[in-house]
Symmetry: C2
Subunit: 316 residues, 2 copies
């Protein structure tokens, strides 16, 4: 029996299940993302002091009690809303690769805000939780896809979010290709220019439009062209060497399209069916050989919204 | 009996029906367009010399035998493909406003190319006709929507076209609001800048993505925000004074969104149902009063592809 249960907790425990997300999808810089079936699972209950049990990927990062993004967001949200910080006992099982462009920070920020909304009894709607996490993240693509599921188009004006989710064809799959070394989003953003030529803007606007329509209508034949980008990928080739190695696979047999996943360094390879996964994985490993060892994860697209369940505490 | 029938025409007459299109839809510069139920109808048959009977809008322009865009495209396409120029007797009934941003030049170029493909026996597919008209037009939005129908996202690399069509919710309607004086697209393009800030590009990419997803999923609530633009509309306010007058209607009761139609000067007002047409038309006329007289056309969205029918000549 810990202190939480001795205190006769007034707030029910909470279970959160938040998917990985691959943002940008080529031309959709800060606008598009896809939810994948790799999850951050967080179980939280009131306790006398903070504790974390972390399993899965990055347990030393997810389990740290200092400089932990989830705890920082949780505490910050409660303090900003004038609530006491209820200590939590957390059980974190993380399946999202960290620092790879798989949306781990978006999932963690959503988790922190959702925990604060719940244990601080803020009375927030799902929309409010998403908006607050998006404000902290600074861009809406990963947070909206993580929270809503599916292929998500999102728009953010600094305070309000507009987003729509589309369920892609059931047979489409993603191969997430991850190098050994992670990369901070800030480092990957620093290489981008401050302005773009009209021709580059039109090229990306056209491809974002066709890409979104292709996901909505299941037009696999359009993806290779629609995932071409002139806004961030050309500038990130140096810091994300897997990208130029894998881009030539786009449009080859079974490969629908290739894009940098978020700010990298991971690369998203969309395939039209699980049947092609092994063959495409072999191609990917062959192309990546000169870069170094890679991890390849076969993912389904997660079309369901993030799970938020509060439940009766199970006596331990 | 004219010379065409005396010659025992080897090529059957052709009937083309091409819809008006409203391009850009706010943020989708050169990328998005919507087909509307205003048509250019062309009936053509082989003849001893060129003749045109023109009715509908702009008969003096559509019926001219010199400096006629349709004839120029027809002749040019045949000559570029090494074919003799078969003279045609044309019956043109035009319902598309000219010089208003309603896609009249795209419809005319498609008509010219389709006539050349038919009477020159070029053996072109529908895709080839669309690609050639897009090459002549220089951008794919109007031509693709005119040829395919519906809400169309299109991407063009100077030689090849990729496009997807989506059928919007059945009850959505468009009010085309037209000032008295037409405007050349070239004049409206000259006011645009050559480069854009990263913030403006992201804003438009997000809105193009959300706009396309909103049309695909019928999310009327997203349109007002998703039709906001930072790429061309802010620069065209001066040459298209109807736009700043009508933009404030966007998102008001029954008005889904407002955008410059193509390069203007016409303005597209999307409404969620025909029931609101009269009321919104009154609002539009009130807002436009300071600009001058306007014509307001209530349009349905045309979801069918352009009609191309060859038929047996009817003896006259």
């Amino acid at each position: 029996m810990d202190e939480g249960s001795k205190n006769q907790s007034r707030i029910r425990p909470l279970h959160l299940r938040l998917p990985a997300t691959s943002a940008n999808l080529g031309p959709g810089f800060d606008a598009l993302a896809l939810a994948l079936d790799l999850y951050l699972d967080v179980k939280a209950r009131e306790a006398g002091e903070f504790s974390i049990t972390a399993t899965g990927r990055g347990p030393e990062i997810c389990g740290a009690l200092e400089r932990n993004l989830l705890l920082d967001v949780y505490r910050g949200t409660l303090e900003a809303n004038g609530r006491a910080v209820t200590p939590l006992a957390l059980d974190v099982e993380n399946g999202i690769p960290l620092g790879m462009g798989c949306g781990s920070s978006a999932a963690v920020r959503l988790a922190g805000v959702a925990l604060a909304a719940h244990f601080g009894s803020l009375g927030w709607t799902r929309e409010q939780i998403l908006a607050e996490a998006t404000r902290l993240e600074g861009h809406p693509d990963n947070t909206a896809a993580c929270w809503m599921g599916g292929f998500v188009a999102a728009c953010w004006d600094g305070a309000k979010l507009w987003a729509a989710s589309i369920s892609p064809p059931e047979n489409w799959r993603a191969l997430m290709v991850l190098p050994e070394k992670p990369l901070a989003t800030t480092a990957s953003r620093a290489v981008l220019p401050e302005s773009y030529s009209s021709a580059d803007v039109v090229a990306n606007l056209q491809r974002v439009a066709v890409l979104t329509a292709a996901f909505a209508t299941g037009r696999a034949d359009l993806l290779a062209e629609a995932m071409r980008d002139r806004m961030h990928q050309p500038y990130r080739r140096e810091v994300c060497p897997l990208l130029p190695a894998l881009l030539p696979l786009s449009g080859t047999d079974g490969v629908l399209g290739v894009a940098l996943s978020g700010a990298g360094p991971g690369v998203l390879v969309l395939i039209d069916s699980e049947e092609h996964a092994n063959r495409v994985e072999e191609l990917v490993r062959a192309e990546a050989r000169s870069i170094g060892p890679v991890e390849v994860l076969l993912c389904r697209i997660e079309n369901r919204p993030a799970t938020v369940v509060s439940y009766q505490s199970i006596p331990s």
